[in-house]
Structures are given as structure tokens and as C-alpha cells.
Amino acid sequence: MTDVQSDRDVRDGVDALLDRYAGLSVRDHCVVVFSPDSREPAAWLVAGLKQRGLSAQVIGMRPLVDYGFAARLKAAVPDPESFTGRLVVFTLERDTMSHFAQLLHVMQQFGSDRCMVVRIISASREFFEQALKLGPEELSARNATLLTRLTKARSVRVRSKGGTDLRIRLDAGRYDWISNRGVWRPGGFTILPAGEIATYPAGIEGRLVADGALNCNVITRIDTRLGARPLTVDIADGRATGFSGGSDEVRELVELCFRQPHGTRVGELGFGTNSGIGLFIPANSHINERRVGVHIGFGQHNQDRAVVGYEEKVHLDLITDGAELHIDDDTEPVDLADLRVTGAEHPALVRDEDITGDCCGFGYGELTDPVAASAIG
């Protein structure tokens, strides 16, 4: 791909973000919050706003801890009575999703029905080039197609060309399904990149061959792609029992994750639904999770603490390159890469993805070997 074409793709992504996802009008007031690692993606966004004749206030922020952020944010928010549109806040970060409490406070102060907060993680060239090719309506329709069947199913067998073969029990009455589709709702944050459904498996066993990528909630610069060296993980009774494959640096990370107190437990069954994402990217990124395929999240789970009692800080997603679902052992599989959208309405009882705290800034140095640490202590 030439640079010219690449720049065109970035601009198409900016247009999609502003028009399809945010639905901006000239009456809206925009604030762009960015961390230094996302300066260039933020510039593409600000340029898109200026091209539309929309002004935006920009706020720099330090990821994770920034004691001056609340004051800077407050100063950038206008009096709700001074204009008739919405307050639209874009936040862009590469590895993290920071300052939840401060942003929630602004939303509540301003009025949640007139405030949209778009939270972008994995802010990058690839985010604009690939992750926004499908809009929220298309992603919502794709998620609805799958959820309509899966929320009623008792089991699903997941297979992939790479060799994955997992038998999974489902229980939608007990475990929430979550849908990430880039759709705004009052009082919620819009999390991007979008395109995923997920739940907690009531039971899971078999073999996972992760030949797509991994995504872990630590800050790491390793190449996360697994296409050249897939990771094979055997799973029994909801836990990883062993793994093989992967590069040396990938194995090191996986070993550290699995050594955490609940690191081998399967905490998430997820399906990427964003067919606009063509390639896995080297970065430790949510873009890879949204690509079509299955991902099994080890460690931290995605349910209410009252439903799944254990707590784990680390979450390691291992992602396949595509997958077929045999729902309730249906002989006709659903191919995630060739999903036939039914037009079903999105189920109302499914939780929209949201955050209730800061995310993903776990320093790699904090990910210690607990056995070694206890020996030192």
C-alpha cells in the first residue's frame, strides 16, 4: 500500500469516526483529550474537525496518573446553557484507558443525555485505517445476528482452520453476554475499536490454537502476532493445563500470566465481529481482538463479582484467525468470516460494553512471578 493510499484510509477513518460513530453536527462542542503516545492520531482527528469548521479544545493528559487532569478537563467544558448541541469528548490513548472518574464526573455534571464520551484505546494508524470501516449500525447488526442464537443456546463447539476445537457450555441465564458495537447510549461511554460479543463460559474444554495474536492488559512492546508461531493451549475444566508454541518473548509473557493466582482460569469467551479489520497488527492491541475469530481470555473475568467470585488483575486474550461455531451442535456452522446477517434486533438484555474504572495500564514490571516473589518475601 502506498503512503498516499494509506493517508486516504486514515482520512476515511476520521470521517467514519466523526460522521458514523459520533454523528457530529455544527451545534456540538468537541473536546479532544489525548496522551502523548497518541499525539499523531489526535492530530488526524483535530484536522478532521477543523475541516468541518468545528472547533475543538485539546487537552493533554498523562496516562494512569495525572493530578492536574480534572482541573484541565473542567476548564474545557462550556456552560451547558451556552450552546444547544451536545458535548462530545474524544479520548485517545495507545495502551491505556485512564481517568474514568474524572470523565464520568463531567458527564454527570453536564447531563448524560447531552454528553457523548468516545474512548479510543489502541489509537494508531491501524485504528483509523482498519477498525472504522464498518459503522455502528453494521456492527450492531452483526452482533445481534450472533447474540440472537447464542443467548438461547446451551452449548457451542468452536473450531478453526488452525486446529482449535473447543466444547463450551453456555448459560445466558447466569452469565451476562456483553456487546461492543460502538453505539452511543445516555450515561455510557462509547468504547472503540468496536466489534465483539463476549460472555463467561459455564464450562470449557478442548484445544485452543491461537494463530492470530494475543492481547494482554500489560504495557508491552513485543510483537503480539501469532501467525508464524501459533500458541496451542489445552483447556480442561475451565483452566489451561498446558501450552506450547509461540516465540520466546511470547512464551515468557504467557508463562508470567499463567503463574498469577487465577491466571490459568478461563474468564472470558469472546468473538470478534469486526470484519473490516483485515490484518492482525504487531501491537498489543484491542484491534486484534475485534477481528473475526474467537478469543479466550485467561485470568480476569467479565462478570459481576457476585456471580463469578474470583478476582484476578491480569487478563490475557489469545485470539484465533477466524472460527466456525456449531451452535447446539448444529451441523451447519456459523463462519465468523462469512456471517450472514439476519436483520434481527439487538437483544435488549445484553449488556453494552462499558468500563467502570481505568484500564490496561498494568506495568509490565508489576507482572511478577508470584512463586519467586514469595520466595524473596
Partner: protein, 49 residues
């Protein structure tokens, strides 16, 4: 008589302007690097990641 013409700035020039504006918004406090084991959160709860 002179005729005033206004040229629409290109997207590329708007990006350059935006980069300068964004850099100006980065205080020294903001630019302190996030280190390994920084004061980071305990992962809170990021559903379905």
C-alpha cells in the same frame, strides 16, 4: 481593485497545525513517562476486553 481569495487549507496542513496545537497542550507534567510498575490502576474492570 483587488480581489480577495481564500484558499481552503489542505488536510495535510491542518494536521500540521493540529500537531503544533497538541504539542503546546502537553505540559511537563503530562510528558512524564509512564514507567514500568507506575502508579497504575489494578485493572479495574474493563468488560469483555
Amino acid at each position: 481593485m483587488t480581489q480577495n481569495t481564500t484558499e481552503t487549507p489542505s488536510y495535510e496542513s491542518l494536521v500540521e497545525d493540529a500537531l503544533r496545537e497538541l504539542s503546546a497542550a502537553e505540559s511537563a507534567e503530562v510528558l512524564v513517562p509512564v514507567g514500568s510498575g507506575d502508579e497504575g490502576p489494578l485493572m479495574a474492570w474493563f468488560v469483555a476486553t
